[in-house]
Symmetry: C2
Subunit: 469 residues, 2 copies
């Protein structure tokens, strides 16, 4: 038995990434291009994400529903900007059994039109508002290039779709949900994300405003890790959704949608992982502690049971026939936050060995206080992972005052570059053509303090640019 | 405001069923034929089912994974019996964006072939066995006639797929899982199900043995409510799955699969529901208690808060502007097990009114012991629902000794008829042609005690026949 070798992340980051995905048994490649099998270790992380994020959705008043998998072609066509954005990348069902369908059905690439079609039938009065629905489901987008978790043809995600009486309420919801993503990703996934507004060019097809949560990976490349959209009345008008307001006046409601996917698992891997494999923040790790007995003495197995029964976090005992060295390496590949080694030599001194996954640092602890020490360490690992990622990311944040400076940084240093920007798509497009960098997001809390980095006209926004996955 | 009227179940059972589905806001019809929207009330029941059944799967050693949504045509074709059974009822994806696919993909109608394709790559040694995987997902079957929860083109379900070293282990697993379904349905859903073996004619396409959990609805019609299949080596051989056993000999593993779906919600409705709407067994009800204040006195709202904070089960307070009468009717339609009415008149006497949904019986209880009384009532309602359904079902179980007797019962009485059967499909087919009844299941614990009810040759099995949804 041997563990799959993992390429060093500083030698070949892309290869390192897929090596970790496979060595930690998170995924396996499916039979069709761009399809991915989520193996137990990968799916267990998704279950943890679902559980915790779903609780946050429910706490903010949302209910879960399930819309159909298929969208008839005519329904997808109702909102013009939306169909332009999605039609090129959907999978079309043309036959049911041996019968050719009268109208083609696409597998949902996102469900705005399905929710609108439903809301049209159930929203009649202000009393029916707000509608605060979410669904956990599979979507399909016919991507050309694919990569596990980051870009695949089939995606597991959640999508919230809400309807409101007023523009303000819908705007509040849009912001509330982007901050739920921010909170979850910072405090649970230990990802130091940047929240901002997408430019006109990068916003969601059919939206008025798109907010985004942008994470930066170990290699300085951005991962858009969740978005929240304000639609105003765009879809509602196209679908003829109306309600009688408090003054008995016929009005059109305001809409939002927001989604995040298994891509968050990709972000976890590429932010915290190292050359030994995955590193999971304790708050999202399905197993927090692995206990590995060294030797077969009865004393050891008694101590293993004693330590295990004292823990009040999820643990596993690896009492398989593999060698201790193999088990250590396996626990490291899997990213389990703490490994407890229990052997006779330590026990003679009344201690056991704790190894934290983030630093691989070993400490000996009295067997009587293991549980307290584990609690302490878990908190410390969670904080350390966030701070380590924050520090690394901050070192890759740049600011460019001139276009020459911008191009020089873009050409030599990975990361995000902050600039003043006039708001014109032409300038954004020029940056992309010249450097390959796309706008990440507009920083709404910061004001432009100089001329547009490209055209030198008056700057309107502070914007981050960066390469993206 | 008025609640949708519900047809009496004794007048038109089919209409009653859809009336309840819509009035309780469990579902809404989707835009395409046979598609269903699961509204919050319906989806919340599914979430409860998932949570509890998933815990039972994990307790029996299973892990969750996620296989792709699409099956390439060539992969579906590998196992001959299987493709014969499923090809006529799958949805075919022919285009990705504007590009015609070289090979059609079907949306999975079940995932045996996807799991086998995966297992082929990961099973090499007896050390890799057993594989005990499950997935919660959506499947598609292109049904001609559809009905909410019972038969739809898109189905939410779970499917377990396992691989084992020996035939005995696989057979044990097949039985273990049908008994997990039995346990869950009897003890949580309060459904008095019958467990048995499907006949050759009715078994799953590609299986050697199919066990089933058969429930009987209020109208005496059967609902197949979960199945567990033993495949032997059928699929494994077709897919070339091999492993080195403990003696270093190349062997073919043994396989099972088992699944249950949102159809269980249909069974809940059609077993426990009444003319007032849904009736949910306490153990599966997302909300166990609804508290309805009568009047706006401060005393009332103080009492509402006092009672609510004392409860240790999930509750809701309906303090909306609707009239108490409307709220009572709504709580009944939704099937909430207990309703607590709190009004000044009762409070003056130190009591509140509890109404149990199963019998609509009212009792007054001292406000100081509400929580204990609620616990007691919930247990009692759960037991009563099971016993009531059991008694009703038992009254619709018949035994026929001659074919004339069989036809007479089949023609006049709803329910299941037990017979001796020779095991020949011709006799089974004749029963179906003559009476419309299909075999439900072979009762493995009972022995035939006479001649086959059709051909009069020696009986081999005791079998139930009945109409089915």
């Amino acid at each position: 038995m041997s563990l799959n070798k993992i390429t060093s992340r500083d030698v070949d980051f892309a290869k390192w990434y897929t090596d970790v995905c496979l060595a930690a048994n998170l995924i396996s490649y499916g039979n069709t291009k761009g399809s991915m099998i989520m193996c137990p270790n990968g799916y267990a992380i998704w279950e943890e994400i679902q559980k915790q994020l779903d609780a946050m959705f429910k706490k903010t008043g949302h209910e879960n529903v399930q819309m159909p998998l298929f969208i008839p072609e005519s329904l997808l066509n109702v909102e013009k900007e939306h169909v332009k954005g999605f039609a090129p990348e959907v999978a079309w069902v043309c036959y049911g059994g041996s019968e050719k369908l009268e109208e083609r059905l696409c597998v949902r690439p996102t469900s705005e039109v399905l929710f609108c079609d439903y809301y049209k039938n159930v929203i009649h009065s202000y009393r029916d508002l707000p509608k605060l629905y979410n669904q956990w489901c599979t979507i399909v987008r016919w991507e050309k290039t694919t990569r596990p978790f980051l870009r695949s043809r089939e995606i597991l995600w959640q999508e919230g779709h809400t309807m409101h009486e007023t523009s303000k309420e819908a705007m509040d919801e849009t912001l509330r949900m982007i901050h739920v993503y921010e909170d979850f990703q910072k405090n649970v996934l230990a990802l130091p994300v940047i929240v901002g507004l997408k430019t006109e060019k990068e916003k969601f097809a059919g939206a008025i405003k798109t907010y985004t949560v942008e994470a930066m990976m170990y290699d300085g490349v951005a991962l858009q890790n969740g978005t929240s959209h304000y639609f105003g009345q765009n879809f509602a008008k196209a679908f003829g959704i109306n309600f009688l307001d408090r003054d008995n006046k016929l009005c059109v409601p305001y809409q939002t949608s927001w989604g995040a996917s298994t891509r968050m698992i990709g972000a976890l891997i590429m932010t915290h992982g190292d050359d030994h494999g995955l590193v999971l923040p304790p708050k999202i790790a399905p197993v927090k502690v692995i206990i590995i007995p060294i030797g077969k003495e009865e004393e050891v197995s008694l101590a293993v049971n004693k330590v295990a029964s004292g823990l009040n976090v999820t643990y596993k005992i690896d009492d398989s026939l593999k060698s201790p060295g193999y088990k250590f390496a396996e626990a490291e590949v899997l990213g389990i936050p703490i490994r407890i080694e229990i052997g006779k030599k330590d026990l003679d001194l009344g201690v056991v060995t704790l190894v934290r996954r983030d630093t691989l640092e070993k400490t000996k602890t009295s067997i009587n206080v293991v549980s307290d020490k584990v609690q302490e360490l878990l908190v410390d690992i969670q904080n350390n992972l966030y701070n380590r990622a924050l520090e690394r990311r901050n070192k890759m944040l740049y600011e460019a005052k001139s276009y020459d400076e911008f191009k020089s940084i873009a050409g030599s240093l990975p990361g995000f570059i902050k600039v003043n920007w006039c708001g014109d798509s032409m300038c954004e497009e020029k940056i992309k053509e010249d450097t390959g960098l796309k706008s990440r997001c507009i920083l709404e809390e910061e004001e432009s303090d100089g001329a547009c980095v490209v055209c030198q006209k008056s700057g309107k926004y502070k914007v981050y640019f960066g390469k993206q996955y």
